[in-house]
Every structure is written in C-alpha cells, then in structure tokens.
Point group: C2
Chain length 132, copies 2
DNA sequence: CATTGACCCTCCAGTAACTGGAAGCCTCAT
DNA sequence: ATGAGGCTTCCAGTTACTGGAGGGTCAATG
C-alpha cells in the first residue's frame, strides 16, 4: 500500500506519516521503486496514533502507548498510570485557561468599547499603578 | 539601567528581554560599553508585556496592545475587539481540553489498572473495531 | 596593579509537532 | 509522448523562548 492510501485509511496526513517514520514511530518497508510500502498493521498503528494525539498525548506518550498496544503482556496499570498523569496535565491546563478567561472576561465587560481612549484592559495591563 | 535591573523590576527574564529586542518589541539604546541602556519607560513596557503574555496574548497581540498602550488617541473599541477575540480563542481551547478530559477520565475510570493486559484505554485507541 | 566574581555581549542550537514548498522521479492513461 | 497525479528528499518556517559556549566589562579587594 502506498502512502496516499494509508493516509486516507488512517486519517493521518501523508506528510505526518513521513514525519512519524523519521522519528521512528513506524517503520514501513520500501518497494523497488523507492516508495514506502505499508501494511494493514501500519494503518492500524497510524489510526491509533491519530486517536492518541487527538486526546492530547505527546509524541513521547504515543511511543509508550504504542509499545503497550503491541505488548501482549502489558499490565493495564502501566497504561492507566500514564493516562492519569496526562489527565492531570490536562486539568492543569484547563485551570490556567479558566483563570485567564475569568480575568479577561471581567476586563472585557468593564471596557466601554467606544471611541474614547480610556480602557480598563490597557489599564489593568499597565504597571503605572505600581512602584510609585 | 542595565538589563539585570530591568529584569528584576519588570519580572521579565533578561534572556527574554533580549529576545523582545530582537523581534522589535522594545528598542533600548546602547551605552558606550555596548550594554543595553534602559529607561523607566522600558521597564513599564516590559511589565506590560509580561502581564499580557500571562493572559495568553500572543506576541503579535502584544505588539498591537503595546501600540495601543502608547497611543493617546486609541479607541477603546480597538482594544476590546482584540480582547474579545482572544477570549473566544481561550474558550475554544478550554472546550477542546474539557472534551479530552471527559473522554480520558471515562477511560481511566473503566481501566482496572492491575496486572492483566486487558485495558479499555488501549482498546478505545485501537482501530480494530472499525473496518471489519 | 592584578585578580576575582558578577554582569554584560553575541551567536548557535534546541524545544514540539508538524507543515509548506521546491526540485525531481514514477506511473498510468490518453 | 505528454500530462496529471503521486511519490521521493531536503530545506525552511512556525511559537516563544531557553540554554550554553566563548568572550568583554566593571567594581572591589588583596
């Protein structure tokens, strides 16, 4: 199977597939003409990677997940531990973004948004009120 | 004022200040010895930048905000529009992360996390259930 | 006066995960 | 044989810094 077919079937762009080969996530063979030769298994792996990435796992996480995916003797606690870790990181990001949102929403609400220059948003960002 | 003082007063690391000069956000003069020579105004601007970045504005956003900050004739609607835009982007990110969290939390909960290989997380990521 | 330690300088490289584009084969159908 | 795709490699750019090497500068001390 050529890269285009694999891209269509896995949902992972050809360019990204080449990149994944570069960094050693997948190892397709080569045909005589130099084209990458993929198998069904590669399609599965790439779809797996696509889903893991969509859940926000990093490439390094994916490397681990992929080896667990292939390991018949894996212990589910290994998978769970990684996922819990990742979950925690997601929650941290959410918390940070929510705090930004709160501040920003408040400022936006206070700003008249008219033709005058007075602006609570600029004022909040300005440091003049300090150090004097 | 030298870069170290400015870094302490503004809260922006020296390395980052140099970077901001590189990309044209600030333009300190130079002393005879080649050291950057900063003014109070630079400290203000850098503190301003630090706050804007903490609210998640991109560097390009900051460039705009900084010019509005300096513009006595700005119209607050310009500031407000940018902030609203940014707010929307933050909300999108939050939504995406929350959806990841929901999926992941569900999977984590379903996973036994023991010594057996069976794992709902891996299964969810696997594409075998498709296309057959 | 020489040295030491804290600053300062520039330039180079690396981070994460791709993405776009140029230049150039391969293949199949007309 | 020619043209449209599809494939190849390699280079560069994205975001916003950060770390480090190699090397001047300055103020104070011995």
């Amino acid at each position: 199977m050529n890269i285009g077919d694999v891209a269509r079937q896995s949902g992972v762009p050809a360019k990204t597939i080449r990149y994944y080969e570069d960094i050693g996530l997948i190892r397709p063979n080569r045909s005589e003409n130099g084209y990458r030769a993929f198998t069904e298994n590669h399609v599965h792996k790439l779809a797996f990677l696509g889903r893991a990435r969509a859940l926000g796992f990093t490439i390094e996480d994916c490397r681990t997940l992929l080896s667990l995916y292939e390991d018949e003797n894996r212990e589910s606690m290994q998978v769970k531990a990684g996922a819990e870790d990742h979950l925690r990181q997601i929650e941290e990001k959410i918390a940070k973004l929510q705090s930004m949102r709160a501040t920003l929403a408040e400022l936006v609400e206070k700003c008249a948004g008219d033709h005058r220059p007075d602006c609570p948003i600029i004022e909040d960002l300005s440091p003049e009120r300090l150090a004097k």
